[in-house]
């Protein structure tokens, strides 16, 4: 696959974020400051505008502009985290014109590493890492077992969903929710929910056999 396919993925993610904006914000209202949906939607709308307006030489260029746009428009905690994720993916893809399944998986792991490097969250801290990490692991495992990208991504979505759901009972140790201490338990983490949408968008929009 190439830049246009990645752009389709980002457009689908933007659509899902817009559709789930209020849900994400409601999750953030419970344990944060009620802006995660607004923040991410603002950022992804800006990304769609950039995708509409610009031409890109490489797949990496698409992701680089996406990361930069998110960094410049989202703010808060999720801006640098999502921004870093896309920038690291872009770097991982290098100058190649075509992205195959292993390259995509490698890029997604780079994204995870970027989020961890930026946010220093460990698994179980009740953050987006708790959805992203199992998804990346599942993707790698499926591809190693010979799955096509489509099936591997479907497994990754399931892993993300499980990770998201598993954040509910946790006590937050990172981000704004951590100030709530015990009172943060009982609610799903908004960042884990939005990451799950990112995976779902990939499963829907990326070509299955790449």
């Amino acid at each position: 696959m190439g830049g246009p396919e990645l752009a389709a993925w980002l457009r689908e993610f933007a659509r899902l974020v817009a559709a789930n904006k209020d849900l994400l914000t409601a999750l953030d209202a419970a344990i944060g400051d009620a802006d995660h949906g607004t923040n991410l939607d603002r950022g992804m709308q800006a990304v769609v505008k950039v995708l509409d307006a610009e031409e890109f030489d490489t797949p990496a260029a698409v992701l680089k502009r996406t990361g930069m746009t998110l960094v410049s428009t989202v703010g808060g905690a999720s801006g640098p985290l999502y921004g870093t994720a896309f920038l690291r993916m872009s770097t991982a893809l290098g100058e190649e014109q075509s992205v195959d399944a292993p390259a995509f998986a490698k890029a997604l792991r780079a994204a995870l590493d970027g989020v961890v490097a930026r946010g220093k969250a460990a698994p179980g801290d009740k953050t987006m890492v708790d959805a992203l990490q199992p998804a990346v692991d599942a993707l790698d495992a499926q591809l190693a077992a010979g799955q096509f990208l489509a099936g591997a991504l479907q497994e990754a979505v399931r892993a993300a969903e499980q990770g998201r759901a598993a954040t509910a009972p946790l006590v937050a140790r990172k981000g704004r929710a951590s100030y709530l201490g015990e009172r943060s338990a009982g609610h799903e983490d908004p960042g884990a929910a939005s990451v799950t949408l990112l995976l779902a968008a990939a499963a829907t929009a990326l070509p299955g056999e790449a």
Binding site: D33, A34, D35, N39, V71, S72, T73, V74, G75, G76, A77, G79, P80, L81, G83, T84, R118, G119, V171, R173, K174, G175, R176, S178, Y179, L180, G181
Partner: protein, 328 residues
């Protein structure tokens, strides 16, 4: 919502226009939402950049000027600015001696400033302020929040930069201020974020929220309203328990949260001073007023900073900003 505003979405932009109109010494970049010293960059001086969500005025824009900050980045209400703003601020104040970022410890602020430092293409050192003793178990949280010490740190570090000290030394001064300062706050009412239009938390009559941050975050606990003398005890005791302030003087800072009138802050200062005297802590300097606020929240915070002769002389050095000004 009883506010003197136009469109809730335009509050930050409108206020920046007001700052520009009122303070011709300052340069306001309305697109990037920066307030910059009119004569920036100052050749050979370390540049000081801070910033954060809006709604804490005069922090940070009101502290831009000779002897304090070189630039402040204004985010949306209670939302960290983005790295572009910080990069632009860093460039605007880079006089060739490097730039110090003063960052309040909130995940968003820390990460955005981190990215800005990576993108800035100049020598940047960041100092994170985390003085709020209300956050317990800081190993298991995002850490203590940056509150009242930020004001004192920006003044003192600004004076160190003004003396022409190199970036590492200026940063060391900033870290020393952070390590030696502690704060604790109380809210008698919630604040109302303009875009939300209603109070962030409900506070029943006759109660107050102890250990609040500056964004309407809930506090340590909810307690019945109490006389000023008892409120002062509730704020000062955890501070004194956290750090030994005896021997040597302190800068004592009683801060208003936005809707508390000065007469009450002086009533509080009297009680704080009495507690310190009993505890054997000498007040070397005082600051009383609304300097780091939380929109229209009623309440106050107390900040104590251990101050040796160097810190006191940096505190006393001339400063010329909209909100703190002396000797200049």
């Amino acid at each position: 919502m009883n506010k003197l505003i136009n469109d809730p979405a335009g509050v930050v932009a409108d206020a920046l226009r007001g700052i520009a109109a009122a303070h011709p010494d300052l340069r306001v970049d309305h697109e990037q939402r920066l307030v910059v010293r009119g004569d920036a960059p100052v050749r050979g001086k370390v540049g000081l950049v801070s910033g954060g969500g809006s709604g804490h005025e005069p922090l940070h824009a009101g502290f831009v000027g000779p002897g304090m900050l070189d630039a402040a980045c204004a985010g949306e209400i209670f939302t960290s600015p983005v790295p572009d703003q910080m990069v632009a601020a860093t460039r605007a104040v880079d006089g060739g001696a490097g730039v110090l970022h003063i960052v309040k410890n909130y995940t968003g602020d820390v990460m955005n400033f981190e990215m800005a430092a990576e993108l800035a293409e100049t020598e940047v050192v960041a100092v994170v302020v985390d003085d709020d003793v209300a956050v317990q178990d800081s190993l298991y949280t995002a850490g203590r929040r940056g509150v009242g010490v930020t004001v004192l740190l920006e003044k003192i570090t600004g004076a160190a930069a003004d003396q022409g000290r190199p970036l590492t030394e200026v940063a060391a001064v900033a870290r020393r201020v952070n390590e030696n300062g502690r704060s604790m706050g109380v809210a008698l009412t919630s604040c109302t974020v303009p875009a939300a239009g209603r109070p962030t938390f409900d506070l029943p009559g006759g109660e107050m929220e102890l250990g609040i941050g500056i964004h309407g975050e809930p506090g340590r606990r909810r307690v019945p309203l109490a006389p000023a003398a008892e409120v002062a005890e509730m704020l000062v005791t955890p501070i004194l328990a956290d750090l030994d302030f005896t021997g040597g003087g302190v800068i004592a800072f009683v801060n208003g949260m936005g809707a508390t009138p000065l007469i009450e802050l002086y009533v509080m200062f009297n009680e704080v001073a009495a507690i310190l005297e009993k505890a054997g802590v000498a007040v070397a300097r005082a600051l009383v007023g609304p300097y780091i606020t939380s929109l229209d929240m009623a309440g106050c915070s107390v900040t104590l900073l251990r101050a040796d002769d160097e810190i006191l002389s940096l505190w006393d050095a001339p400063v010329r900003t909209p909100a703190l000004r002396w000797g200049a």
